[in-house]
Amino acid sequence: MTSTDANIVIWLNALSGNVAAFDNLMRIVASDYLMPLAFSLGMLGLWFSGKNPAQRIRYQLTTLMGISALSIANIVVWIFNITVERPRPFVEYGDQLTLLFYPPTDPSFPANPVAVGFAAATAAWTINRKFGLWLYAAAALFGFSRLYAGVFYPTDIVGGAVVGIAIYVFTTYLRRFLEPIITSFVRFIRGLSAA
Protein backbone atom coordinates (compact mmCIF):
# COMPACT_ATOMS: atom_id res chain seq x y z
CA MET A 1 0.00 0.00 0.00
CA THR A 2 1.33 3.42 -0.94
CA SER A 3 0.65 6.87 0.48
CA THR A 4 -0.63 9.84 -1.52
CA ASP A 5 2.88 11.23 -1.33
CA ALA A 6 4.31 8.12 -2.98
CA ASN A 7 1.47 7.92 -5.50
CA ILE A 8 2.34 11.40 -6.79
CA VAL A 9 6.01 10.47 -7.28
CA ILE A 10 5.10 7.22 -8.99
CA TRP A 11 2.55 8.94 -11.26
CA LEU A 12 4.92 11.78 -12.21
CA ASN A 13 7.89 9.49 -12.72
CA ALA A 14 5.74 7.20 -14.89
CA LEU A 15 5.47 10.10 -17.37
CA SER A 16 9.17 9.75 -18.08
CA GLY A 17 10.16 7.75 -21.11
CA ASN A 18 7.46 9.29 -23.29
CA VAL A 19 9.29 12.40 -24.52
CA ALA A 20 13.06 11.91 -24.55
CA ALA A 21 13.81 15.63 -24.95
CA PHE A 22 11.77 16.47 -21.83
CA ASP A 23 13.48 13.70 -19.85
CA ASN A 24 16.86 15.06 -20.90
CA LEU A 25 15.83 18.59 -19.93
CA MET A 26 14.76 17.33 -16.50
CA ARG A 27 18.09 15.47 -16.13
CA ILE A 28 19.98 18.69 -16.82
CA VAL A 29 17.80 20.81 -14.50
CA ALA A 30 17.94 18.20 -11.71
CA SER A 31 21.75 18.03 -11.89
CA ASP A 32 23.77 18.87 -8.77
CA TYR A 33 25.71 21.56 -10.63
CA LEU A 34 23.49 23.75 -12.81
CA MET A 35 20.76 25.20 -10.58
CA PRO A 36 22.89 25.61 -7.43
CA LEU A 37 25.30 27.64 -9.56
CA ALA A 38 22.37 29.67 -10.89
CA PHE A 39 21.32 30.58 -7.34
CA SER A 40 24.91 31.57 -6.49
CA LEU A 41 25.08 33.69 -9.64
CA GLY A 42 21.83 35.35 -8.62
CA MET A 43 23.49 36.42 -5.36
CA LEU A 44 26.63 37.55 -7.21
CA GLY A 45 24.55 39.61 -9.64
CA LEU A 46 22.68 41.32 -6.79
CA TRP A 47 25.97 42.33 -5.18
CA PHE A 48 26.94 44.39 -8.23
CA SER A 49 23.47 45.62 -9.23
CA GLY A 50 22.97 48.65 -6.97
CA LYS A 51 22.79 51.92 -8.88
CA ASN A 52 23.40 54.34 -5.98
CA PRO A 53 25.10 54.07 -2.57
CA ALA A 54 21.87 53.46 -0.62
CA GLN A 55 20.61 50.80 -3.01
CA ARG A 56 24.06 49.24 -3.22
CA ILE A 57 24.43 48.75 0.54
CA ARG A 58 20.88 47.35 0.76
CA TYR A 59 21.55 44.87 -2.06
CA GLN A 60 24.91 43.85 -0.62
CA LEU A 61 23.59 43.29 2.90
CA THR A 62 20.77 41.21 1.43
CA THR A 63 23.28 39.22 -0.60
CA LEU A 64 25.24 38.48 2.57
CA MET A 65 22.01 37.43 4.29
CA GLY A 66 21.17 35.19 1.34
CA ILE A 67 24.59 33.53 1.38
CA SER A 68 24.38 33.03 5.14
CA ALA A 69 20.88 31.58 4.76
CA LEU A 70 22.17 29.07 2.18
CA SER A 71 24.81 27.86 4.64
CA ILE A 72 22.46 27.70 7.62
CA ALA A 73 19.80 25.93 5.52
CA ASN A 74 22.32 23.18 4.78
CA ILE A 75 22.92 22.67 8.51
CA VAL A 76 19.20 22.66 9.35
CA VAL A 77 18.47 20.18 6.55
CA TRP A 78 21.26 17.95 7.85
CA ILE A 79 19.72 18.04 11.35
CA PHE A 80 16.33 17.07 9.88
CA ASN A 81 18.02 14.35 7.83
CA ILE A 82 19.61 12.66 10.82
CA THR A 83 16.48 13.12 12.95
CA VAL A 84 13.76 12.03 10.51
CA GLU A 85 15.85 9.65 8.32
CA ARG A 86 13.17 9.24 5.68
CA PRO A 87 14.25 6.78 2.94
CA ARG A 88 14.28 7.96 -0.66
CA PRO A 89 11.31 6.99 -2.88
CA PHE A 90 13.43 4.61 -4.99
CA VAL A 91 14.40 2.70 -1.83
CA GLU A 92 10.77 1.96 -0.95
CA TYR A 93 9.21 1.89 -4.42
CA GLY A 94 12.18 1.05 -6.61
CA ASP A 95 10.22 -1.48 -8.63
CA GLN A 96 7.73 1.22 -9.67
CA LEU A 97 10.19 4.02 -10.46
CA THR A 98 12.56 4.74 -13.35
CA LEU A 99 15.41 6.72 -11.85
CA LEU A 100 16.64 9.65 -13.98
CA PHE A 101 19.31 10.52 -11.43
CA TYR A 102 22.07 8.68 -9.58
CA PRO A 103 20.79 7.03 -6.36
CA PRO A 104 21.56 9.54 -3.55
CA THR A 105 22.64 8.01 -0.25
CA ASP A 106 21.41 10.73 2.13
CA PRO A 107 17.86 10.82 3.61
CA SER A 108 14.96 12.35 1.71
CA PHE A 109 13.31 14.90 4.05
CA PRO A 110 13.54 17.85 3.57
CA ALA A 111 14.90 18.45 0.07
CA ASN A 112 18.26 20.18 0.52
CA PRO A 113 18.53 21.68 -2.99
CA VAL A 114 15.03 23.14 -2.71
CA ALA A 115 15.80 24.67 0.70
CA VAL A 116 18.89 26.33 -0.75
CA GLY A 117 16.97 27.58 -3.80
CA PHE A 118 14.11 29.03 -1.77
CA ALA A 119 16.51 30.72 0.67
CA ALA A 120 18.26 32.47 -2.25
CA ALA A 121 14.95 33.33 -3.92
CA THR A 122 13.54 34.84 -0.71
CA ALA A 123 16.65 37.00 -0.33
CA ALA A 124 16.23 38.26 -3.90
CA TRP A 125 12.48 38.75 -3.48
CA THR A 126 12.91 41.06 -0.49
CA ILE A 127 14.73 43.64 -2.62
CA ASN A 128 13.50 42.97 -6.16
CA ARG A 129 10.11 41.31 -6.53
CA LYS A 130 10.53 40.48 -10.23
CA PHE A 131 13.98 38.95 -9.87
CA GLY A 132 12.84 37.12 -6.73
CA LEU A 133 9.90 35.58 -8.58
CA TRP A 134 12.26 34.32 -11.29
CA LEU A 135 14.43 32.68 -8.65
CA TYR A 136 11.34 31.19 -6.95
CA ALA A 137 10.32 29.75 -10.32
CA ALA A 138 13.83 28.32 -10.79
CA ALA A 139 13.76 26.79 -7.31
CA ALA A 140 10.31 25.31 -7.92
CA LEU A 141 11.45 23.89 -11.27
CA PHE A 142 14.51 22.42 -9.56
CA GLY A 143 12.23 20.73 -7.01
CA PHE A 144 9.87 19.47 -9.72
CA SER A 145 12.76 17.98 -11.71
CA ARG A 146 13.97 16.04 -8.66
CA LEU A 147 10.40 14.80 -8.10
CA TYR A 148 10.11 13.76 -11.74
CA ALA A 149 13.50 12.03 -11.50
CA GLY A 150 12.18 9.93 -8.61
CA VAL A 151 14.57 11.03 -5.85
CA PHE A 152 12.20 13.09 -3.64
CA TYR A 153 8.62 12.93 -2.34
CA PRO A 154 6.36 16.01 -2.77
CA THR A 155 6.42 16.61 1.00
CA ASP A 156 10.25 16.69 0.83
CA ILE A 157 10.00 19.49 -1.73
CA VAL A 158 7.43 21.45 0.30
CA GLY A 159 9.47 20.88 3.47
CA GLY A 160 12.60 22.13 1.72
CA ALA A 161 10.81 25.27 0.54
CA VAL A 162 9.48 26.02 4.03
CA VAL A 163 12.93 25.47 5.57
CA GLY A 164 14.57 27.75 2.98
CA ILE A 165 12.11 30.63 3.53
CA ALA A 166 12.12 30.24 7.33
CA ILE A 167 15.91 30.20 7.47
CA TYR A 168 16.14 33.41 5.46
CA VAL A 169 13.73 35.14 7.89
CA PHE A 170 15.76 33.79 10.80
CA THR A 171 18.97 35.06 9.17
CA THR A 172 17.62 38.61 8.97
CA TYR A 173 17.16 38.53 12.75
CA LEU A 174 20.58 36.95 13.18
CA ARG A 175 22.05 39.87 11.24
CA ARG A 176 20.57 42.36 13.71
CA PHE A 177 22.02 40.26 16.52
CA LEU A 178 25.49 40.53 14.94
CA GLU A 179 25.44 44.18 13.85
CA PRO A 180 27.59 46.19 13.24
CA ILE A 181 29.91 43.37 12.15
CA ILE A 182 27.92 42.72 8.95
CA THR A 183 27.85 46.33 7.70
CA SER A 184 31.50 46.73 8.74
CA PHE A 185 32.38 43.73 6.58
CA VAL A 186 30.70 45.40 3.59
CA ARG A 187 32.62 48.59 4.44
CA PHE A 188 35.86 46.57 4.38
CA ILE A 189 35.02 45.13 0.96
CA ARG A 190 34.32 48.70 -0.20
CA GLY A 191 37.86 49.47 0.92
CA LEU A 192 38.93 46.92 -1.68
CA SER A 193 36.75 48.67 -4.30
CA ALA A 194 34.52 45.62 -4.60
CA ALA A 195 31.42 46.94 -2.80
Binding site: I28, E179, F188, G191, L192
Partner: protein, 209 residues
Protein backbone atom coordinates in the same frame (compact mmCIF):
# COMPACT_ATOMS: atom_id res chain seq x y z
CA UNK B 1 36.13 -0.36 -14.81
CA UNK B 2 37.15 0.90 -11.36
CA UNK B 3 37.39 4.69 -11.61
CA UNK B 4 39.32 6.39 -8.81
CA UNK B 5 37.09 9.20 -7.40
CA UNK B 6 40.20 11.36 -6.81
CA UNK B 7 41.14 11.20 -10.49
CA UNK B 8 37.57 11.99 -11.49
CA UNK B 9 37.43 14.92 -9.03
CA UNK B 10 40.64 16.46 -10.37
CA UNK B 11 39.21 16.37 -13.88
CA UNK B 12 35.73 17.47 -12.90
CA UNK B 13 36.89 20.32 -10.64
CA UNK B 14 38.77 21.91 -13.56
CA UNK B 15 35.68 21.74 -15.74
CA UNK B 16 33.50 23.15 -12.95
CA UNK B 17 35.91 26.01 -12.29
CA UNK B 18 35.84 27.04 -15.95
CA UNK B 19 32.04 26.83 -15.89
CA UNK B 20 31.78 28.92 -12.71
CA UNK B 21 34.38 31.45 -13.90
CA UNK B 22 32.74 32.14 -17.27
CA UNK B 23 29.23 32.35 -15.81
CA UNK B 24 30.46 34.62 -12.99
CA UNK B 25 32.20 36.86 -15.50
CA UNK B 26 29.03 37.00 -17.58
CA UNK B 27 26.87 37.76 -14.54
CA UNK B 28 29.19 40.53 -13.37
CA UNK B 29 29.17 42.06 -16.84
CA UNK B 30 25.36 42.10 -17.01
CA UNK B 31 25.10 43.59 -13.50
CA UNK B 32 27.76 46.29 -13.94
CA UNK B 33 26.50 47.28 -17.38
CA UNK B 34 23.04 47.90 -15.84
CA UNK B 35 24.53 49.71 -12.83
CA UNK B 36 26.84 51.88 -14.94
CA UNK B 37 30.04 50.66 -13.25
CA UNK B 38 32.32 51.39 -16.21
CA UNK B 39 35.50 50.45 -14.39
CA UNK B 40 34.46 46.79 -14.60
CA UNK B 41 33.18 46.68 -18.18
CA UNK B 42 34.93 44.34 -20.59
CA UNK B 43 34.07 46.66 -23.48
CA UNK B 44 33.66 50.46 -23.67
CA UNK B 45 29.95 50.18 -24.48
CA UNK B 46 27.14 49.25 -22.03
CA UNK B 47 24.95 47.40 -24.51
CA UNK B 48 27.89 45.49 -25.93
CA UNK B 49 29.04 44.60 -22.41
CA UNK B 50 25.57 43.29 -21.51
CA UNK B 51 25.37 41.12 -24.62
CA UNK B 52 28.91 39.89 -24.02
CA UNK B 53 27.80 38.87 -20.52
CA UNK B 54 24.84 36.92 -21.88
CA UNK B 55 27.07 35.27 -24.49
CA UNK B 56 29.60 34.28 -21.81
CA UNK B 57 26.89 32.57 -19.73
CA UNK B 58 25.44 30.68 -22.70
CA UNK B 59 28.92 29.66 -23.86
CA UNK B 60 29.84 28.45 -20.37
CA UNK B 61 26.73 26.29 -20.07
CA UNK B 62 27.24 24.87 -23.56
CA UNK B 63 30.90 24.05 -22.91
CA UNK B 64 30.21 22.47 -19.52
CA UNK B 65 27.38 20.29 -20.78
CA UNK B 66 29.01 19.33 -24.09
CA UNK B 67 32.56 18.73 -22.84
CA UNK B 68 31.96 14.96 -22.31
CA UNK B 69 31.57 14.68 -26.10
CA UNK B 70 35.27 15.38 -26.63
CA UNK B 71 36.91 14.86 -23.22
CA UNK B 72 37.41 11.35 -21.81
CA UNK B 73 35.85 10.81 -18.39
CA UNK B 74 33.49 8.62 -16.39
CA UNK B 75 30.44 9.66 -18.38
CA UNK B 76 29.99 6.83 -20.82
CA UNK B 77 27.23 4.22 -20.87
CA UNK B 78 24.72 3.88 -18.00
CA UNK B 79 26.00 7.04 -16.39
CA UNK B 80 22.82 7.68 -14.41
CA UNK B 81 21.84 4.35 -12.94
CA UNK B 82 25.32 2.94 -12.35
CA UNK B 83 27.59 4.35 -9.70
CA UNK B 84 30.74 6.02 -10.99
CA UNK B 85 32.97 3.14 -9.97
CA UNK B 86 31.46 0.96 -12.65
CA UNK B 87 31.24 3.56 -15.40
CA UNK B 88 33.26 3.18 -18.52
CA UNK B 89 36.02 5.76 -19.01
CA UNK B 90 35.57 7.45 -22.34
CA UNK B 91 33.59 10.04 -24.24
CA UNK B 92 29.82 10.34 -23.91
CA UNK B 93 27.44 9.88 -26.80
CA UNK B 94 24.70 12.42 -27.58
CA UNK B 95 22.13 10.10 -25.94
CA UNK B 96 24.07 10.06 -22.67
CA UNK B 97 24.93 13.73 -22.58
CA UNK B 98 22.06 15.05 -20.43
CA UNK B 99 22.98 12.88 -17.44
CA UNK B 100 26.72 12.65 -18.04
CA UNK B 101 27.62 15.70 -15.93
CA UNK B 102 25.64 14.69 -12.87
CA UNK B 103 28.55 13.00 -11.10
CA UNK B 104 27.81 11.94 -7.52
CA UNK B 105 30.18 13.59 -5.02
CA UNK B 106 31.17 10.24 -3.53
CA UNK B 107 32.25 9.08 -6.99
CA UNK B 108 34.37 12.08 -7.95
CA UNK B 109 31.86 14.92 -8.20
CA UNK B 110 31.87 18.01 -5.96
CA UNK B 111 29.90 18.23 -2.74
CA UNK B 112 28.34 21.52 -1.59
CA UNK B 113 31.41 22.69 0.32
CA UNK B 114 33.75 22.06 -2.62
CA UNK B 115 31.34 23.74 -5.02
CA UNK B 116 31.24 26.77 -2.71
CA UNK B 117 35.05 26.90 -2.62
CA UNK B 118 35.45 26.64 -6.39
CA UNK B 119 32.65 29.12 -7.02
CA UNK B 120 34.16 31.66 -4.62
CA UNK B 121 37.54 31.36 -6.34
CA UNK B 122 35.88 31.69 -9.75
CA UNK B 123 33.89 34.78 -8.69
CA UNK B 124 36.99 36.52 -7.30
CA UNK B 125 38.92 35.66 -10.49
CA UNK B 126 36.06 37.00 -12.61
CA UNK B 127 36.09 40.26 -10.63
CA UNK B 128 39.87 40.54 -11.08
CA UNK B 129 39.56 39.96 -14.83
CA UNK B 130 36.78 42.57 -15.01
CA UNK B 131 38.92 45.07 -13.09
CA UNK B 132 41.94 44.52 -15.37
CA UNK B 133 39.88 44.65 -18.56
CA UNK B 134 37.98 47.70 -17.28
CA UNK B 135 41.26 49.47 -16.56
CA UNK B 136 42.52 48.79 -20.08
CA UNK B 137 39.17 49.77 -21.55
CA UNK B 138 39.05 53.11 -19.70
CA UNK B 139 42.71 54.03 -20.07
CA UNK B 140 43.28 52.95 -23.65
CA UNK B 141 40.07 52.53 -25.57
CA UNK B 142 37.71 55.05 -24.10
CA UNK B 143 39.10 57.44 -21.49
CA UNK B 144 36.41 59.32 -19.56
CA UNK B 145 36.59 62.26 -17.19
CA UNK B 146 35.10 62.00 -13.70
CA UNK B 147 31.83 63.87 -13.36
CA UNK B 148 32.22 67.19 -11.59
CA UNK B 149 31.84 66.91 -7.82
CA UNK B 150 32.60 63.18 -7.68
CA UNK B 151 35.91 63.72 -5.94
CA UNK B 152 34.33 65.83 -3.20
CA UNK B 153 31.58 63.35 -2.38
CA UNK B 154 33.05 60.44 -0.39
CA UNK B 155 30.13 58.18 -1.35
CA UNK B 156 30.90 58.73 -5.02
CA UNK B 157 34.66 58.57 -4.77
CA UNK B 158 35.46 55.02 -3.67
CA UNK B 159 34.25 51.46 -3.89
CA UNK B 160 32.03 50.45 -6.79
CA UNK B 161 30.72 54.03 -6.97
CA UNK B 162 34.25 55.19 -7.73
CA UNK B 163 34.42 52.66 -10.54
CA UNK B 164 31.55 54.38 -12.31
CA UNK B 165 33.99 56.72 -14.05
CA UNK B 166 37.45 55.51 -13.13
CA UNK B 167 39.53 52.40 -13.42
CA UNK B 168 40.14 50.01 -10.55
CA UNK B 169 43.76 51.12 -10.24
CA UNK B 170 42.69 54.76 -9.93
CA UNK B 171 39.94 54.03 -7.42
CA UNK B 172 41.67 51.52 -5.15
CA UNK B 173 44.12 53.86 -3.34
CA UNK B 174 41.25 56.19 -2.45
CA UNK B 175 39.00 53.31 -1.36
CA UNK B 176 41.67 52.01 1.00
CA UNK B 177 42.54 55.49 2.30
CA UNK B 178 38.87 56.23 3.04
CA UNK B 179 38.47 52.86 4.72
CA UNK B 180 41.41 53.59 7.04
CA UNK B 181 40.24 57.13 7.77
CA UNK B 182 36.57 56.33 8.37
CA UNK B 183 36.46 52.86 9.82
CA UNK B 184 36.91 53.81 13.48
CA UNK B 185 34.00 56.26 13.41
CA UNK B 186 31.98 53.89 11.21
CA UNK B 187 32.36 51.13 13.82
CA UNK B 188 31.49 53.41 16.76
CA UNK B 189 28.44 54.73 14.94
CA UNK B 190 27.41 51.17 14.16
CA UNK B 191 27.67 50.24 17.85
CA UNK B 192 25.58 53.29 18.86
CA UNK B 193 22.89 52.55 16.30
CA UNK B 194 22.76 48.77 16.79
CA UNK B 195 19.68 47.40 18.50
CA UNK B 196 19.87 46.91 22.23
CA UNK B 197 19.85 43.13 21.87
CA UNK B 198 22.83 43.13 19.49
CA UNK B 199 25.47 40.73 20.79
CA UNK B 200 28.22 43.01 19.52
CA UNK B 201 26.69 46.06 21.21
CA UNK B 202 26.46 44.18 24.48
CA UNK B 203 30.17 43.33 24.26
CA UNK B 204 31.64 46.59 22.93
CA UNK B 205 28.89 49.11 23.60
CA UNK B 206 29.42 49.31 27.35
CA UNK B 207 33.12 49.96 27.22
CA UNK B 208 34.16 53.58 27.89
CA UNK B 209 35.12 55.64 24.84
Amino acid sequence: MNTDPGVVRDLFAGHYFLFAFLTSLGTIQIAVSNAGTRGLWLTPNATLTRWLGIALIITAIAIFLAQPLWVDGPWAADSVEADSLTRDWGKASWDELAGARNVNDIHGGLDGVKQTGWFSLAAVTAFAVSAIAGTLSIRILNPVQPKSGDDQDPDMADGLAGLANRSYLSTQPESWRNFHAEFGEFWRKGIREAESWSLIKSIWGRSPK
